[in-house]
Structures are given as structure tokens and as C-alpha cells.
């Protein structure tokens, strides 16, 4: 340390604040949404503009921290002059666009998408989707009684290009037994709407582990490890980021799954507290879901720049050391 003063005293303040380089922002364009003329950046999606002006647009496969895949199609809106409806989540606004978010075409498509999901997927742990169903007066029961569930792993073995001809007596669903193959989380693909979020979180949008992908085709498409091997034989590193983004409860902490089964899951009685993970020095925000002084689930807020909602196995599941309290009198 050949400069004593430098070592002993903090350096002086810089005169200017260090900043990220500013990107050129294109000039705003004029658009019309539901009769309202307004200006918006052409970098903005229709969904972003809708949210900004308070138009509540339903979304299922969209999440701020993931690349839009625009597959659920529940966010579709009508752009006047466009042959088809467009997904609000990924379509960027263009000058002169006239957008209708609640036209009969929009309402019909949203209702039908929700009926399709409601009639083929168990939405019992998807309160948000159930809310949309009510809002759009979707009637999933009008497709007939659901077909009996598939046996374990049967759907995972279906080959593309062939399917058993339907009888017409029942309507097909994705119902199947829950996959329980480890102590940390379960996969109940009866509840899977195939929104791709888990694949994205496991892939380039966050974890980059690629333990799961969409396999198969058409209605038989499903989330799968390679050759449908159990998670412990897969590349899974149990970060649980797939659970964090799952909109329907298909992926769930095993603790939550077990408590729900036992009837002890009591969400209204739970508190959620943000704190910082106690492990490495990255400083990830953990939201601790606590019921009866016990951590029952850990999530991370999406709007935190450190995590963007994503955690690792230690942050997500490594909390048991504060509640292994066998010695404590209850």
C-alpha cells in the first residue's frame, strides 16, 4: 500500500453519478385503445400500455420476468384491420393502431380459451384462472363429461401423429396421477395448462439447467424430463424456479401439497415476510410464507433486481434449520 492516504481514507465522491448508458428511445406513437387516444413508446407491448391505463387484461402464460411465449392466447385483443386477434403480451404497439380490448370477438376468444382450459385441466389451485372463467362466463362443462384420467406415465409415452379416436361420449382431459419423486416438490400435470413458464424458468430465462422441456405434440404435448425419468435422475437442481412461475399449482412445494392433502393448508392464516437469504453473498430476497410459526413456502418477488423472482435450492428449500425444533416443548 504505497499510498497511505488512499488506503486510510475512503476516496472522494465522484462529481457525477455513475450511470448506465442511456439507450435511444424512439419517439412515442399515437394509438387508440377502446376509443381512448394516447401516446406510447413503440417499444411497449399492448399489454404494458393496457396495464398503464388501467385496462385489466387477463394473462396466464405471461410473466414479467420471462420472455413472452404468447401461447395461452387469453390476452388476445383486436387490432382493427388485422385478420386475426393479436396477443397483447408480446405485440408491440405501432403508430395508428386501433385496439379493442373488449369487443365481441375478443370476449368470445377469451371465453373459449378459458373453457378449453377449464374443460381439460384441473384449475382447482389456480384462483386467478378461475376468476377469469367467471369474468368471461366460461362454461367448461358444455363439452360433456370428462374422460377418465390417464394412468401413471401413460400420457408421457404417447407418440406424435397418432391418437386413440374419441368416442364422442366424453371430453378428453390431461388428468393423470401426481408425480411425487423427491422430498422438495411435486408435479401434478393434471393441473398443467402448458404455459411453458416452467420450461423458460428452467432454461435461458433464469436457471439455464434445462431439466425439463415440452415433449410430444398437440394435445399430448407435456412437460417432461428426458425419457420422462424421475427428477432425481434428471438434470434438475431443485432451484424451484419452476414452482415460482407456475400459475396453476401444478408444481408445488411438497410441504404445501402434503398440507393441502391433510387439510391443514390455511392460506388466509399465513403471513408473508420479505427478508434476505442467509447463505451466500448474493443477497437474494426471500418471501417467507409462514403458518403457525413455520415456514411453509419460500418465494422471491419478481420486482427485485437481485433475483427477478428466482432462487437456488438453498434459498428456496434450505430453511429447515430454523424449524428443526424437536427439543422445544410445544
Amino acid at each position: 500500500m504505497n499510498d497511505e492516504s488512499y488506503w486510510f481514507r475512503p476516496p472522494p465522491r465522484s462529481r457525477e453519478l455513475p450511470m448506465a448508458p442511456v439507450r435511444d428511445e424512439p419517439p412515442p406513437v399515437e394509438i387508440t385503445i377502446d376509443g381512448r387516444a394516447l401516446h406510447a413508446s413503440p417499444n411497449a407491448t399492448i399489454l404494458e400500455v393496457c396495464r398503464r391505463i388501467g385496462i385489466d387484461t387477463p394473462t396466464l402464460c405471461y410473466l414479467e420476468n420471462l420472455t413472452p411465449v404468447n401461447v395461452c392466447r387469453v390476452c388476445v385483443v383486436e387490432v382493427v384491420g388485422s385478420r386475426t386477434l393479436v396477443p397483447a403480451c408480446s405485440r408491440r404497439v405501432e403508430g395508428g393502431m386501433v385496439i379493442l380490448t373488449d369487443s365481441p370477438r375478443v370476449r368470445l376468444s377469451r371465453k373459449m380459451v378459458l373453457e378449453f382450459l377449464g374443460s381439460s385441466v384441473d384449475l382447482s389451485t389456480a384462483p386467478q384462472a378461475r376468476g377469469y372463467l367467471a369474468r368471461y362466463e366460461a362454461s367448461p362443462t358444455r363439452y360433456g363429461s370428462p374422460a377418465p384420467p390417464a394412468s401413471a406415465n401413460e400420457r408421457d409415452q404417447r407418440e406424435p401423429g397418432h391418437h386413440r379416436a374419441p368416442s364422442g361420449e366424453t371430453s378428453e382431459t390431461v388428468a393423470q396421477p401426481t408425480k411425487v419423486d423427491n422430498d422438495l416438490y411435486i408435479r401434478d400435470y393434471s393441473k398443467c395448462i402448458l404455459c411453458y413458464k416452467c420450461v423458460e424458468a428452467c432454461g435461458t430465462d433464469a436457471q439455464n439447467t434445462f431439466a425439463i422441456a415440452v415433449a410430444g405434440r398437440g394435445f399430448d404435448a407435456r412437460i417432461s424430463t428426458e425419457l420422462n425419468v424421475p427428477l432425481p435422475d434428471s438434470a434438475c437442481v431443485y432451484c424451484g424456479n419452476c414452482i415460482g412461475v407456475c400459475p396453476t399449482g401444478a408444481l408445488m412445494f411438497k410441504s404445501e401439497h402434503d398440507m393441502r392433502k391433510a387439510g391443514t393448508w390455511n392460506e388466509p392464516a399465513q403471513t408473508q415476510t420479505d427478508t434476505i437469504c442467509s447463505y451466500c453473498g448474493v443477497g437474494c430476497t426471500l418471501t417467507l410464507h409462514v403458518q403457525d410459526n413455520t415456514i411453509v413456502k419460500v418465494t422471491s418477488p419478481m420486482d427485485v433486481s437481485v433475483t427477478h423472482g428466482h432462487l437456488c435450492i438453498k434459498g428456496r428449500f434450505g430453511f429447515e434449520h430454523v424449524q428443526n425444533r424437536q427439543d422445544e416443548p410445544k
Partner: protein
């Protein structure tokens, strides 16, 4: 990448099959053997370069499938190691395409087409016969051989995998009844000129157009194509000149040219016959397109069920390359262009242009949302001109004769010659060329009229994604504008005729089954809508509607509308068209609620 690849190591044969595509493994970290001399203290696999070879995933899977008749896990693992593809993703890709099997299959499998045209020509009989033999066989969607229905394709694995298909000029002659007739512009060589001879091609005005194009220059070529008013022949009818112009002017490089030869629309077989019968014409058309759009690389994506077409095209490409007509300096004219063939692996959806890009890139053939359009962001995210085979074989004609002359052929809204795939209950099913303009009646007459002179029950125009029309529409001109005015579609040029013997409900059932099978499964309207559509049809056919027949039709219309309005791509958007058109106008199922 820190892949976790568990499971068995490849056998030497599996390694050899994969290495035949990928070359020898150079690193222990990518499937090679450990060499402490070179890699004890440094390694260079895992980064961008190593991860950029994903596009070789399908070729590698093909190599294994061809060799062993299926893709064993050990071979799959080796491919994953070589290409740094996560096993779960490779599994996702392999299970997307029905020509790849992850379970052992017999060394030869007969794929029997039971799709629409074959269905009305005795496919079920073939299946019944096979059921009593030891032959390994499975049903297949349209094999693109409707002119010789009932059709099948034997795919055999082994050291030199081959597909058994008719290969002689005679076969081409049978498929193109007009062959040898003067005045043909697109198919004049088919059945007449040796498709494997570059000399023979050149002797019949081949490569005249490319020579002229080079003299004209790229901009002038695009001008000619624009003036010609050539519209895409794949079904969407987009002006080719505009597409090329956008790519040529795109500031981002490289540019790509892609030829869509994933002809899978039931009832369509024109591109197959063109590639089998006049492959050099496509090579020349692609070369001109590459020159005009500033693309140095062209991909030719041929559906997996067209092994003979792929072979012929490869022969032609190799010959052209050897003659300096492809390569780093084409014709010595100072531009580079080459063509690589990519084989599809059994997925109708890959005919959708963005799904096709994903397939070339080694991914599942899931369509992308548009915009961005391919001319801005296509293959590998670069500006891409993608054209159908028929579109591209029109190009030498345009350049040779001039755009204006071409525009003088046909009608003002539909210029040039057009290929029609006529099949079903006609006397001479086959590929026909006519200048745009004739009516539906004319085209059926050209094919010898309805077999046995029976009355027509229905005609399917444009394939499974097209529409049914009744005999009342026979005077509709088969032009873009004529079909549009009649609420129909020209689509890919399919004219499939059904006489009164047809069980139309059964045909509709097959179409519903087809879309249910071929939906990629990505978006909800199509993934579930195609299932609900098929179930609804089954209920109607069984005479067991939920509520009344009218209720079911109302429900059907809603299903059709959400698919049309909210699906990502053309498959879902058109999956209800044919069925809806038949339900509304042709009364295919009894309305009284009981089975007829």
C-alpha cells in the same frame, strides 16, 4: 454448458452414425475421448461456438434413426454430448416428429396413407390386408402421393437406408398425364428429361435464366419478379417480388434463402413431382433467388416422407456444385451461393414457415408469433426469403421470358402458369399445369372427369386447410380472386373430387383427426380446439349431440372462431375451415339426432 447427461454410452456403431454427420469428436468435453496432452489445462467447448451447432440436431437424429430404425437412449446421449444440447430438450425435439421413434421399431416399416384421397381409393382395404400379415406397418397422414392412391411408403433402416418408392421415368409419366404436351412451361421436362442429368437439363434451356440474371443484376431480377406479379404458390399468395425486395434491402446480415418443400397439405403432391422430375429447375430457381436477395446460403427443407425427392435434389445439387453452378463463385460471376438439404421428420406443421425455421434450427417445429416477419427476422433470427418449390420453379421462367411476358399469362390478378393436384374420384388423377384462369369444371375435365361419370358430391379445394364446395361451384375460376370471391381458397392447388359414393362424415372425421394429430400443441385454441372439434364431430356422427344438433353447430362455430381468431399460426386458423364449410353447405351428418 454444465449439462447433466446420465445414462449409457454409445455403441461404436451409434458413434459412427452420429459422427457421419458431425465429424469426429474433438474434445472430451463434447463426446470425445480424454486427452491430457491437449485438454489438461485448457478447453474451448461450452461457449458460444460449441452451443451454436444445435441446428445439426435433426440431421444427427436422422442419421441414427436411418441406421437403427429408432433412436436408442445411448445414441441420443451421444448426440447431446456432441452438440451440447440438454437431453430434455433433445427428447422434446425427438418426440415432436413422428418419423423419429424412441422405442425400437422393426428395420422396415410400411407407412400406409389413410388420409382423404387414399381413403376414398381403398386405403382401408390395404390396412385390412396388412392386418393379416406379419408386415410392420402403421397408418400415416397424407404421404403426398394422392395421384397414385392408395399410397404407402416403406422406410427401411440399415447401413444404407433406403425408402422403397417408384423411381422410373414411367412413374413420373403416370403422375403427370400431360407430360410431353407442348406449351407446358413448368413441367415440360417432367417425364421427358433425365432428372439426374445436368447436361440434359442444360440442353433444355436449363441455366439460361441464371446466366441472364447475372447479367441483369440482383436489383433488376427483383424488378422482373415484381413486374411478373408472381404470388407465392404455397397457399398464402404473397407477392414474391415484395418479399425478395425486403430481404435484399434488410441491413442485417447474413440473409438466408429457404425453400419450403415440406409439402404436407393433404391432397398436395406437386412439389414432390417437380423435385423428382425436374430437380435442376429448383436448384436454378433457388440460385437466382439467392443471388437476388443477397443470400449466400439456401436451405431446402424437404418433408421426411419424400426420400426420392431428397435423393434427386441432392444429386442435382452435387452436380451443380461440381459444375461451378453452386459454391463460392457461382458461374464465375463473383457471387457465392450454396444449398443444403434438410429433411423433415414427420410434422405437417413444419410447412408453416416459422415452424420450419425452428425445425432447421434443431428445435421443435413450433410456429413463432408474427411479427416479426421472416423478411426481418427469420432463420437464425436473420432476414430470410422463404418460398415454396412451385414459386421458385417459376423464377427461371420469369427471368428467361421477362416479368412482363409472365404477367401476360393468366389473369390480371393471378399471373403465370399454375400447378393443380387433381385427385379423388377422377379418371386421371395427377399433376396438371394450366395458365391461371380455367374453371373448376375445366380442371376436372382435364383429368378426365369424374370416374365412371358419377355425379359429384363435393370437391375439396386447397387441402385439409381449404374448403369443400358443392357441384354448384363448378364454374368458379381457379384463380386467387375467383376462389376468394366464392368464399373458397386456392390454397396449394388441391382439387380433390368426391362422387356420391363418399361418406363425407368419415372424410370430415379424418380431417379432424389430422388436425388433432398435427397441431403442435403450443397454443390453447388449436391444442384443445382441435380435440373438441373432433369430439363434436364424433358426437354428431354417433347421433348423440349434447343438446340439439343446432346447439352443436352453434358450439362448433364458436370453436371454429376461436381457432381462427386466436391461434398462433395458419394451422389452427384454418383447422376448422373445411369441416365448417361442409357442415354448413353439404349436410354431411344427419340432423335428426340418430345415425343414418
Amino acid at each position: 454448458m454444465d449439462l447433466r447427461i446420465a445414462g449409457p454410452d454409445p455403441t461404436p456403431d451409434e458413434r459412427a452414425a452420429v459422427d457421419s454427420i458431425l465429424g469426429q469428436a474433438v474434445s472430451a468435453w463434447a463426446g470425445g475421448t480424454r486427452d491430457l496432452d491437449t485438454e489438461s489445462h485448457s478447453a474451448h467447448v461450452g461457449g458460444h461456438e460449441a452451443r451454436s451447432r444445435r441446428e445439426l440436431l435433426l440431421p444427427a437424429l436422422h442419421a441414427v434413426q436411418d441406421r437403427f430404425g429408432w433412436v436408442p437412449p445411448s445414441a441420443m446421449n451421444y448426440i447431446c454430448r456432441r452438440l451440447l444440447v440438454p437431453p430434455a430438450e433433445a427428447h422434446g425435439v425427438a418426440t415432436f416428429y413422428h418419423l423419429f421413434s424412441l422405442t425400437p421399431r422393426p428395420p422396415a416399416v410400411m407407412h400406409v396413407c389413410d388420409d382423404i384421397a387414399c381413403r376414398v381409393s381403398g386405403a382401408e382395404g390395404v390396412c385390412r390386408e396388412l392386418a393379416n400379415t406379419t408386415t410392420a406397418w402403421q397408418r400415416s397422414p397424407c404421404l403426398g402421393q394422392c395421384e397414385r392412391a392408395p399410397a404407402w411408403l416403406v422406410i427401411a433402416s440399415g447401413d444404407t437406408p433406403r425408402a422403397k418408392e417408384a423411381t422410373s421415368l414411367d412413374a413420373l409419366l403416370r403422375s403427370t398425364p400431360q407430360s410431353g404436351t407442348p406449351g407446358l412451361r413448368l413441367i415440360q421436362r417432367i417425364g421427358q428429361v433425365d432428372p439426374e442429368s445436368l447436361t440434359a437439363y442444360q440442353a433444355t434451356r436449363g441455366y439460361e435464366a441464371l446466366r441472364k440474371a447475372v447479367v441483369l443484376g440482383a436489383e433488376a431480377v427483383i424488378r422482373e419478379v415484381t413486374v411478373s406479379k408472381l404470388m407465392g404458390r404455397g397457399g398464402a399468395a404473397f407477392p414474391t417480388g415484395r418479399k425478395w425486395d425486403a430481404v435484399a434491402k434488410a441491413p442485417v446480415h447474413p440473409h438466408y434463402l429457404v425453400c419450403n418443400a415440406d409439402e404436407s397439405e393433404p391432397g398436395t403432391f406437386k412439389d414432390r413431382i417437380v423435385m423428382e422430375g425436374d430437380p435442376f429447375a429448383l436448384v436454378e430457381g433457388m440460385t437466382i433467388a439467392g443471388f437476388a436477395t443477397g443470400s449466400e446460403k439456401g436451405y431446402l427443407y424437404i418433408r421426411g416422407e419424400y426420400p426420392l425427392a431428397a435423393m434427386r435434389m441432392q444429386t442435382a445439387i452435387d452436380a451443380a456444385r461440381a459444375a461451378g453452378l453452386l459454391g463460392a463463385n457461382v458461374m464465375g460471376a463473383g457471387f457465392a451461393f450454396d444449398i443444403e438439404i434438410r429433411r423433415g421428420a414427420g410434422a405437417y406443421i413444419c410447412g408453416e414457415e416459422t415452424a420450419l425455421f425452428n425445425s432447421i434450427e434443431g428445435k421443435r417445429g413450433e410456429p413463432r408469433n408474427k411479427p416479426p416477419f421472416p423478411v426481418q427476422s427469420g432463420l437464425f433470427g436473420k432476414p430470410t426469403a422463404i418460398n415454396n418449390v412451385e414459386t421458385l420453379v417459376n423464377v427461371p421462367l420469369i427471368v428467361r421470358e421477362g416479368g412482363e411476358a409472365f404477367a401476360g399469362i393468366g389473369t390480371s390478378g393471378s399471373t403465370g402458369p399454375k400447378l393443380f393436384c387433381v385427385s379423388g374420384h377422377v379418371e386421371r388423377p395427377g399433376l396438371y399445369e394450366l395458365p391461371f384462369g380455367p374453371t373448376l369444371r375445366d380442371v376436372i375435365a382435364l383429368a378426365g372427369g369424374v370416374r365412371g361419370g358419377k355425379p359429384i358430391r363435393a370437391i375439396l379445394l386447397g387441402g385439409a386447410a381449404g374448403v369443400f364446395v358443392g357441384p354448384d361451384k363448378l364454374d368458379m375460376p381457379l384463380t386467387f380472386e375467383g376462389t376468394r370471391a366464392a368464399g373458397a381458397t386456392l390454397g396449394s392447388g388441391v382439387v380433390m373430387v368426391f362422387d356420391e359414393s363418399v361418406d363425407l362424415a368419415d372424410i370430415l372425421g379424418r380431417i379432424a383427426e389430422f388436425f388433432r394429430d398435427e397441431s403442435c400443441g403450443q397454443c390453447v385454441p388449436c391444442r384443445v380446439g382441435t380435440v373438441r372439434q373432433e369430439e363434436l364431430l364424433q358426437r354428431l356422427r354417433a347421433g348423440a349431440p349434447i343438446g340439439s344438433y343446432k346447439d352443436e353447430i352453434a358450439l362448433f362455430k364458436e370453436i371454429a372462431q376461436v381457432m381462427r381468431d386466436a391461434s398462433i399460426c395458419g394451422l389452427g386458423q384454418t383447422a376448422a375451415n373445411a369441416i365448417e364449410s361442409a357442415l354448413i353447405t353439404l349436410d354431411p351428418v344427419p340432423r335428426n339426432g340418430s345415425r343414418s
